[in-house]
């Protein structure tokens, strides 16, 4: 079991950002984390990556507790935060070398070459990040996430703001990576879930409202489209009526 989350809660002041969620994720699959904006997707990911601690509950990654064993957890995850923050005044290779040095990986040069090839950054490898297009920046974000060859990849809205060609390329890359890794990605794009996820978790107002395989979810809801299932589970009835 690569990720095991039990009864996880996070409160900001009086507001419950996530409220008792539990789920598991297996290696070799893509777990889609769906939910409306503000449902608690990013908060969950920030807890899994040890950026902020939970208020209660536990999160284990590769058997290590995110709160008590955070250094070990951080060695086993690759994280692409929302909005893909990067050092825009650094060069592609420089960034990767920097991350490699932090992660203390072996044969940095060889690994960087591998990752650059894998993420299709060959033509851009000597450019400054500030000079790259959004799609290529996203690839750099992914490249730095997978550089240390982590067992678990956590990607927060990896395709937001990309053009359709870039979306397809990034999805193919994620799909490819998921063969040997556990991938958790958050999104609110339904086609994305259709295209790459095996398991789907729908989260609304901090609570899990569905946790199933893609097929299972469809079966339960009379083969409705994922979009309609999403609206049914997370939208208020008024909104639902308007959309339909």
């Amino acid at each position: 079991m690569s990720i095991e989350v039990a009864d996880l809660c996070k409160t900001y002041g009086n507001q419950k950002a996530i409220d008792g969620i539990s789920f598991k994720a297996l290696p070799g699959s893509v777990l889609g984390f769906l939910g409306p904006n503000g449902a608690g997707k990013s908060t969950t990911m920030k807890i899994l990556t040890c950026f902020i601690p939970q208020t209660s509950g536990t999160a284990h990654i590769c058997g290590f507790d995110a709160r008590t064993d955070s250094m070990e957890v951080r060695r086993h995850i690759g994280y692409l935060p929302e909005h893909n923050p990067l050092y825009l005044d650094m060069y592609v290779r420089e960034t990767l070398a920097f991350i490699g040095a932090i992660q203390k990986i072996d044969q940095t040069e060889k690994r960087i070459n591998d990752v650059i090839e894998r993420c299709g950054l060959g033509d851009e490898q000597n450019k400054k990040l500030g000079a790259l297009s959004k799609g290529y920046r996203q690839r750099v974000g992914l490249a730095q996430a997978i550089l240390a060859d982590p067992k678990v990849l956590i990607l927060d809205e990896p395709t937001s703001g990309l053009d359709p060609n870039q979306v397809i390329a990034i999805r193919a890359l994620i799909k490819d990576l998921s063969k040997i890794k556990t991938v958790v990605l958050s999104t609110h794009i339904m086609q994305e879930v259709d295209a790459i996820c095996e398991q789907v978790i729908i989260i609304n107002k901090g609570k899990i409202v569905a946790d199933d395989t893609l097929k299972g979810l469809r079966l339960k809801h009379n083969n409705k489209s994922l979009e309609n299932i999403f609206i049914e589970l997370t939208g208020s009835h008024v909104n639902q009526a308007q959309i339909i």
Binding site: T49, D89, I102, Q103, Q144
Partner: protein, 242 residues
Amino acid sequence: MISILFKEISGFFTSWVAYLIMAAFMLVTGLFLWVFPDSSILDYGYAGLDSFFNIAPYLFIFLVPAITMRAIAEEKKDGTFELLATRPLSDWDILFGKFLACLVIVLLTLLPTLIYYFSIYHLGITRGNIDTGAVIGSYIGLVLLGSAFTSIGLFTSSLSNNQIIAFTVAVFLCFFSFSGFDSISSIISLQRIASFLTELGINQHYQSVSRGVLDTRDLIYFLSFTALFLFLSKTILGARKW
């Protein structure tokens, strides 16, 4: 920590901040030491670096916050802090890396001013007629002062996402901790604790080190001052975990 240190230093040089700071420091101290009649060595007539060491702390009050202001504020604003904090690095690693990088820039700013010492050494009517002990002491004083100001700057940089705010607050804190306590101690109703108040200020200890006597009390003062503000910065960085 080492990787953060190198990344920061290379950042200072690619963004021209380092060159700008060094040039500004050289230019202003050069003018005061050799050109402006009130403080120029050529008019003053004594082979000493006193006017340089008197003006340098006031330049540091502005230049050190300019070096440190982006250190943490920018990372927080761009979200890259999340990149660092989710890597196998402790907050101390990040903080020390940045502190040392800023301190290296401060040292590199001081380094070219050694040329003043050698010029005066050779220009004296009796060659070498300069109080070398006091010069060494003053340089140590400046380095200690630089580390104290750097820790203040890192602290204010961790307080805000806005570099201008970080800079302004740091300038104020540096100025106040340097000479504010002296000014307060001259208030008449505080005369009874005046000597205690001046002891709190940096100026008192800087002057003491500048005389060329390296007193452990001064050393401990500077080290604990730096440690205090580094600790405060660490607390602010850790606040996300509360």
